[in-house]
């Protein structure tokens, strides 16, 4: 399955690069969605179908829909694309690109000279995954749901009409 991994990985990289460099907001979001789908495929090729399905279901299918929804409502057209292009002048992205390149270099060094590649852990079936989540890690799951509840209450408060 390694050709699938590298193919999907290449698509993900290209799509992400386009998502960053695209001046048109909706087109950039489309590339980002493509990148998330490619990441799903990468997980699938690594033998994690559950994570792949959740990646597509949660990120591409729900969160990104809200992004597109919001961008759609603020009507981006050729006008804002021109403005965006002006913001993409080299002097703005030179610094971040340099730092990101440094990180990439360190990652490559780590990958090339790592003493031993970490063995792929045997992935537990869904039932065991659930048992782990709602057993030893129950507190973390509950804390996560607290955070979501807080977000929900805050959104409700902000959306009140008066």
């Amino acid at each position: 399955m390694s050709w699938l991994f590298y193919g999907a990985g290449a698509v993900a990289l290209l799509a992400t690069a386009r998502a960053v460099s695209c001046a048109h907001a909706v087109h950039a979001l489309l590339y980002l969605i493509t990148s998330l789908l490619a990441l799903g495929l990468v997980m699938l090729s690594l033998g994690a179908p559950f994570a792949a399905a959740l990646e597509v279901l949660v990120y591409a299918g729900a969160i990104m829909v809200l992004f597109v929804f919001v961008v759609m409502l603020i009507d981006v057209g050729p006008e804002s694309a021109r403005q965006e292009r002006a913001w993409m002048a080299p002097r703005y992205w030179r610094g971040p690109a340099l730092l990101a390149a440094l990180l990439l270099g360190q990652l490559l060094v780590l990958l090339l000279w790592a003493p031993e590649p970490p063995a792929a852990a045997a992935l537990p079936p869904l039932k065991q995954l659930g048992a782990v989540f709602y057993g030893p890690w129950l507190l973390a799951v509950e804390l996560g749901s607290f955070l979501l509840l807080a977000g929900l209450v805050a959104a409700y408060h902000l959306g009140r009409r008066d």
Partner: protein, 321 residues
């Protein structure tokens, strides 16, 4: 099974699916005719079957026009997404013990939910790229409606998953040998049916394209083949949801009442029955108002679905103890 054999089966099934969806246009009009005390299209060939081909020729030879103000790339992409998503989601539906388009995955149900959650992009991008008021309003409605009902669509199936103990669709069918899940999961069935109506934007829940207020909604600016793809994609969606209701709640390919086994036949008959139910719902129910639709979803269906999951879980735990 060799690769060639596999691709032949997959191609045949998908071709039959697309053909069936085109035929549904005629079947639906005839059924609507019966339920509304009129004939429907009955002129071309016996029973009016030729209407299917007449409609196809008409829609494919019409001028395929892209409005000059539209975002061209996205405008073309949207109907392709509609069709591709509808066909992709069918890949895991088991038509028989060993008969699928693709494979029997152990996360089959999650795959279906993931792929069908992408369907909203077709409507969203189609409406946005058209750059017209009606289309945009339709797209806004469609995305809010689809995101809302996706939640219940997923949650209403968790009772089935808990009872079968698996996300694999063939395991779910096998688990129904004794009793169809339509009986213990009657509430889940009703909620899944409503969510399915909302996901495929079928009447009475077709508010994203409600013609009395939005002319055509998200596909107002579409014509010719691209409109045809939206149109047929919707019918593929109807077949898909009917097939899933059959698989998840009515024993899939299993024979009812101890009759002889004939997997493909039983699956097709049951699915056909639910397609009929979809048409009957269209013929008999008026549209709700949009705020009623959203309010009903969050205030009624969400608590009911959660209660269904909790009660099902409690019964399983009590039974195991």
């Amino acid at each position: 099974m060799s690769l060639l054999e596999h691709s032949l089966i997959a191609g045949g099934l998908l071709g039959a699916l697309a053909g069936g969806a085109a035929a549904l246009v005629w079947i639906e009009r005839r059924l609507l005719g019966i339920w509304q005390d009129r004939y429907g299209p009955n002129r071309v060939w016996p029973l009016g079957v030729g209407q299917i081909f007449a409609d196809m020729i008409k829609i494919l030879t019409k001028e395929d026009w892209i409005p000059p103000f539209a975002d061209r790339g996205v405008f073309v992409l949207a109907p392709c997404i509609a069709m591709a998503v509808a066909l992709l989601a069918f890949a895991v539906v088991p038509l028989g013990p060993t008969l699928h388009v693709a494979a029997d995955w152990n996360v089959g149900l999650l795959y279906f939910l993931a792929i069908s959650s992408l369907g909203v992009y077709a409507v969203l991008l189609g409406g946005w790229a058209s750059r017209s008021k009606y289309a945009l309003l339709g797209a806004v409605r469609a995305s809010a409606q689809t995101i809302t009902y996706e939640v219940f669509m997923g949650l209403s199936l968790m009772g089935v998953v808990a009872l079968a103990g698996s996300f694999a669709l063939s395991d779910i069918v096998e688990a129904q040998r004794g009793l169809w899940f339509a009986v213990p999961q009657a509430l889940g069935l009703v909620i899944f049916l409503i969510a399915g109506l909302a996901e495929t934007h079928r009447l009475p829940l077709d508010l994203p394209e409600a013609e009395h207020e939005l002319t055509g909604g998200y596909h107002t600016e579409y014509s010719g083949g691209k409109f045809g793809m939206f149109f047929v994609g919707e019918y593929v969606g109807v077949i898909l949801i009917s097939g899933l209701i059959t698989t998840l709640f009515f024993g899939g390919w299993l024979a009812p009442f101890g009759l002889p086994e004939a997997p493909l036949l039983w699956f097709s008959l049951k699915t056909g029955l639910f397609i009929g139910v979809f048409v009957l719902l269209r013929a008999s129910l008026p549209r709700p108002r949009y705020d009623q639709l959203m309010g009903f979803g969050w205030k009624v269906l969400l608590p009911l679905t959660l209660a269904n999951v909790a009660v099902t879980g409690a019964i399983i735990v009590a039974g195991a103890a």
